[in-house]
């Protein structure tokens, strides 16, 4: 398994390249390079418009009247902007319930499952345990099994337990930990020297104390990155909720807006649908804006690990 990944500290691409920059005397950029930058900038801008236009159009539609949606040529800036679509939407469906349910699932899963994953990663990386390599490899096989293969048996488990149409089927399988996160944190812990753990043991610290006082502060950036990625994945999940949840009062946000879509499309109330979709995007966009650096770094790290 050691061949799989470089040390996390090694792959800070920006740091590496800027260091190289300093070694090589920087030569003034030629006029050709600057010209090239203009052309590339133009192409990137056109591409960027393509990427963002649908989202802006979504927001724009959410501010229109029902009739204005069908006006040709289309108006990009609704006049007057129907901000009360954003008030109407809360009464039109269980949007607030959806947000609450999604938050309950995402927070409980990431907090409990994150703690379980971090402790397991510490044990796999730094503690003595017979057959731990075999156990770890066994767990890794779970990554290879796609959820659709497991969904019918899992549904049967929860049906037998009488938990269908509750949030438990979304929470329970995940709070035992996330193998991808265990894998990632275990790699990260390789860069922590064994000697500091041995020293703490000699001082009489328990493993829980060592983890909490010593290990956790060191791996906190890695945990944060994994935490955010996992949170967004759970928040955006759709397949598991659609299998388990029927009643409006237990549906997660993604289901609520999908049902919104199905209901109001027949009434051609597109502004309302788009307002609901915009609201569904706000939490993840906020998380992304706040944690942009961690998200981008951990994604880049994931890829370089292969």
């Amino acid at each position: 398994m050691t061949t799989l990944a470089p040390q996390p500290t090694e792959s800070k691409p920006s740091a590496v390249s800027s260091r190289n920059q300093k070694l090589i005397p920087s030569r003034p950029r030629s006029a050709g390079y600057r010209m090239g930058n203009w052309i590339v900038g133009l192409v990137l801008s056109l591409g960027g418009i393509t990427m963002i236009a649908p989202l802006i159009w979504m927001f724009s539609t959410s501010l229109k009247t029902r009739e204005a949606v069908f006006s040709l040529p289309p108006q990009w800036i609704p006049d007057p902007a129907q901000w009360d679509n954003y008030l109407r939407v809360w009464d039109a469906g269980p949007l607030l319930t959806g947000i609450t349910n999604s938050a309950i699932v995402a927070v409980s899963v990431t907090v409990v499952g994150g703690a379980a994953s971090a402790l397991a990663a510490y044990a796999f990386a730094k503690m003595r345990l017979p057959y731990k390599g075999v156990i770890f490899l066994g767990l890794l096989t779970a990554i290879m099994v796609p959820f659709p293969t497991l969904m019918i048996p899992q549904f049967q488990i929860f049906a037998t337990a009488g938990l269908v149409d509750t949030l438990w089927p979304l929470i329970l399988p995940a709070i035992f930990g996330n193998i991808v996160m265990v894998f990632f944190l275990r790699q990260y812990l390789d860069s922590v020297p064994d000697s500091i753990i041995e020293a703490a043991k000699i001082d009489g610290a328990t493993h829980l104390q060592i983890f909490w006082r010593l290990i956790f502060p060191i791996i906190r950036p890695a945990i944060a990155a994994q935490f955010i990625l996992w949170f967004m994945a759970v928040w955006n999940d759709y397949l598991a909720p659609i299998i388990y949840l029927n009643s409006p009062e237990v549906q997660t946000l993604q289901l609520v807006i999908a049902r919104f879509n199905a209901t109001y499309a027949s009434q051609t109330d597109y502004p309302l649908i788009m307002a609901a979709s915009c609201i569904a995007l706000v939490p993840v966009l906020t998380v992304f804006v706040i944690f942009q650096r961690q998200i981008i770094e951990s994604i880049a790290l994931t890829g370089s690990k292969g």
């Binding site: 061949t3 293969t149 497991l150 397949l239 649908i273 981008i296 890829g303």
Partner: protein, 313 residues
């Protein structure tokens, strides 16, 4: 839990004084076993047992309510003769044609953003926003964008004088429509990985090549492309695994599998057989076939990845 119980007796350690060490080790083993117990338990209950259950169930006729009735290999035979199974499998594979297109585009983007110029951080953010947006909201947005009369896509095409079709209602365009959306959504992710890989290519390689008189294009083929191979491989594999499981877009944009089943994917068909038609046994058999296909791709990744790393290191 049986694994852990078996693991409990510590391996005899002959190189050290026996008693003290073994007590210490035993205590550590116990704590370590406790720490890994949760993921192991989760694995047993929610992965290992379901797989066994699925294997058994795939040989039964089962509606999910009454007891399953063994029917041998009937489900697998039925799969072979079920035109909708083949159609969904074919659609799933066909949609993977979007993967090379998306990778090529994202490589070009990464090359563009790897230049020393202002605004790259801004562009990186813009291109990445679709990646983090929820697929349900994105599917709703694009469903409306593909509307034949008032959708954004046909309006944009109208500016250049093209009269676009009613994308999702037309068997010929429904699949490409979903592929375009998938490319749009995934572009930022691959671009970011390519960008990170580009930035970690040692600059000295280019300097040396330049001294030897290699042109920019020669440098690209001789240095950049080989150095990007591990990332390309990783992206191809993860995209195939993700593509094999495409469901949300289909479920939201074409709830009935599209015109003439043209957008029905394997997971969508499994889902429909299981939870709409209550053919749980048949659906389980299909989900096992899907699992084996994905497993084959993943195993290939692990096998080839090892070789990749040797060639790079």
């Amino acid at each position: 839990m049986t694994i852990l119980e078996k693991a409990a007796p510590p391996a005899p350690d002959s190189s050290r004084p026996p008693q003290r060490v073994s007590t210490l080790h035993r205590r550590e083993h116990r704590t370590a076993a406790l720490f890994v117990a949760l993921p192991v338990l989760g694995f047993v209950v929610f992965v290992a047992y379901p797989i066994l259950f699925a294997i058994v169930t795939s040989f039964t006729n089962w509606n999910g309510i009454t007891a399953p009735v063994a029917n041998g290999v009937d489900n697998y035979v039925r799969m072979f003769t079920d035109q909708y199974f083949w159609k969904s499998l074919g659609n799933t594979v066909f949609m993977m044609l979007a993967i090379p297109v998306g990778l090529l585009l994202s490589l070009l983007l990464a090359l563009a953003m790897n230049r020393k110029m202002a605004g790259t951080t801004f562009f990186r953010t813009i291109y990445y926003i679709p990646v983090i947006s929820s697929i349900a909201a994105i599917a709703i947005l694009w469903q409306w964008a593909y509307n034949g009369d008032f959708g954004l896509v046909n309006q944009a095409l109208g500016y250049v004088g093209i009269d676009g079709p009613n994308w999702l209602q037309n068997p010929a365009t429904a699949k490409p429509a979903i592929m375009i959306m998938a490319i749009w959504k995934g572009l930022g992710f691959s671009m970011l990985l390519y960008l990170a890989a580009l930035q970690s290519v040692p600059r000295q390689l280019y300097e040396a090549a330049a001294l030897d008189g290699a042109s920019a294009i020669q440098q690209f083929w001789a240095i950049t492309v080989p150095m990007l191979r591990p990332v390309t491989f990783f992206l191809v594999v993860t995209n195939i695994i993700g593509g094999a499981q495409i469901f949300v877009e289909i479920n939201i944009m074409t709830p009935d599998g599209g015109p003439e089943y043209s957008t029905a994917t394997l997971v969508w068909y499994i889902w429909r057989q299981a939870f709409d038609y209550l053919n749980m046994g048949y659906a389980t058999a299909m989900s096992l076939v899907l699992g084996i296909l994905v497993l084959a791709v993943t195993a290939l990744q692990f096998a080839l990845n090892r070789r990749n790393h040797f060639s790079i290191d």
